[in-house]
């Protein structure tokens, strides 16, 4: 049977006006930035194979390692666009292709809570953490896996890109560009992480063999 837990409903009733007041007070005070690091990849930047082939494309989005179908539904189109624009494949399909070639792209979204952790260092090399108390960091890891045919070895390439959220009157973080909306920030993150992972795949000797 499906159950509604009644305790939190009472909490939600008085929290709604509080949250609304906070929303009015704080609206417009949250800013988003995309740190520099991974460059944008233009279609001309990819080393294209002589004879691009069709590939089955699977896309997944995980939040802290667990599948997030809602986020995937909102971002899948952007990921597919980056793959199609790369020119590395003749076509992409959700269904299997005759060669059984498979390209799987997973983006994982995890908060960076400890700037001194090895996880954080993978994202934030070169950044200072003097203002860490007023910033939120979200880390995005893109894993691209290519299997050229049934039973073949997997080729895997991983890229990372953080997004920074600041609150209140703070100067923009160093080496970052502002994003007008969350959607713009996520779109930039997708294009950089997927694009750079595909660029690495394109020059992988096993990909072009």
């Amino acid at each position: 049977m499906n159950r509604i837990v009644k305790g939190p409903w009472k909490w939600a009733c008085w929290s709604v006006p509080l949250a609304a007041a906070l929303g009015l007070f704080l609206s417009g005070c949250v800013s988003m930035y995309v740190p520099n690091g991974l460059p944008e990849v233009a279609p001309a930047d990819y080393v294209k194979p002589q004879h691009p082939a069709a590939v089955q494309l699977l896309v997944d989005w995980t939040t802290e390692g667990k599948s997030n179908t809602k986020a995937l539904a909102e971002t899948r189109g952007e990921v597919v666009s980056v793959v199609n624009e790369s020119g590395l494949f003749a076509s992409t399909s959700r269904d299997p292709v005759p060669s059984a070639a498979l390209l799987a792209i997973t983006i994982d979204d995890s908060p960076i809570t400890n700037p001194n952790s090895a996880f954080a260092k993978g994202f934030l090399t070169g950044f200072t953490f003097g203002l860490i108390g007023t910033k939120g960091f979200e880390g995005y890891t893109c894993t691209v896996t290519y299997i050229p045919s049934n039973g073949a070895d997997k080729l895997t390439h991983v890229t990372r890109q953080p997004l920074i959220f600041t609150m209140g009157a703070h100067a923009a973080p160093d080496n970052s560009i502002p994003a007008p909306t969350l959607k713009d920030a996520v779109r930039t993150m997708i294009r950089r992480t997927v694009g750079n992972a595909l660029k690495e795949l394109a020059v992988d000797p096993a990909f072009t063999r």
Binding site: G7, G23, T106
Partner: protein, 188 residues
């Protein structure tokens, strides 16, 4: 962390009292590679419906605090069927005219959002027939827990996501079941 909490309290106002439609199931790379290497033959997918005696409301929607979620397919038994078809198609193992066919019944579906620990239970009965003869007949159940939160903006989407994951977990169990694999491979 303080910043994240304030932002999430704001978002709680948006998260209460909503109705949402679940995003469609997406085959994962792990599922597809597992099915591709399983050696099973192509399957047709027959009827999926609510099991006799199961409560009708578990098939229509699920509640996470003040938010309700329902599948685009109309019922969760239809959602389970669509997820199975999606996995089989992505693996090249779906054939509407195959002699091997699978059908199922949704037996149970529960979601407890919790304040510190959430829990979901999904159970379904699966039957595989080969040219009309029963080759596999078993009820499988997925039960799993996760860290929840008193903050609705964290707990609600996480609970709905985990509830959906329960269906994927259940199908994953099916694909690994030795009796299912034996029933779906070519007869020796």
């Amino acid at each position: 962390m303080r910043f994240r909490m304030i932002l999430l309290v704001m978002l709680s106002a948006l998260a209460s009292g909503c109705a949402t439609t679940l995003a469609p199931h997406q085959p994962s790379v792990n599922t597809v590679t597992m099915l591709r290497s399983s050696g099973i033959q192509k399957l047709a997918v027959g009827d999926f419906k609510l099991a006799p005696g199961a409560k009708a409301d578990i098939d229509k929607s699920v509640s996470a605090r003040a938010t309700s979620a329902s599948p685009a397919e109309g019922t969760f038994s239809a959602y389970l069927k669509a997820a199975l078809v999606s996995d089989l198609k992505a693996s090249g193992l779906y054939d509407a005219g195959a002699a091997l066919a699978i059908q199922g019944q949704l037996v149970d579906a529960q979601l407890d959002t919790g304040m510190s620990t959430g829990r979901a239970i999904i159970a379904a009965h699966f039957q595989v027939t080969r040219s009309g003869q029963t080759a596999f007949d078993k009820t499988l159940k997925d039960e799993h827990t996760w860290d929840s939160s008193f903050v609705g903006a964290i707990a609600i989407p996480r609970a709905i996501n985990e509830y959906q994951a329960g269906y994927a977990n259940l199908l994953g169990q099916l694909y690994k079941d030795p009796d299912f694999l034996r029933a779906c491979r070519a007869p020796q």
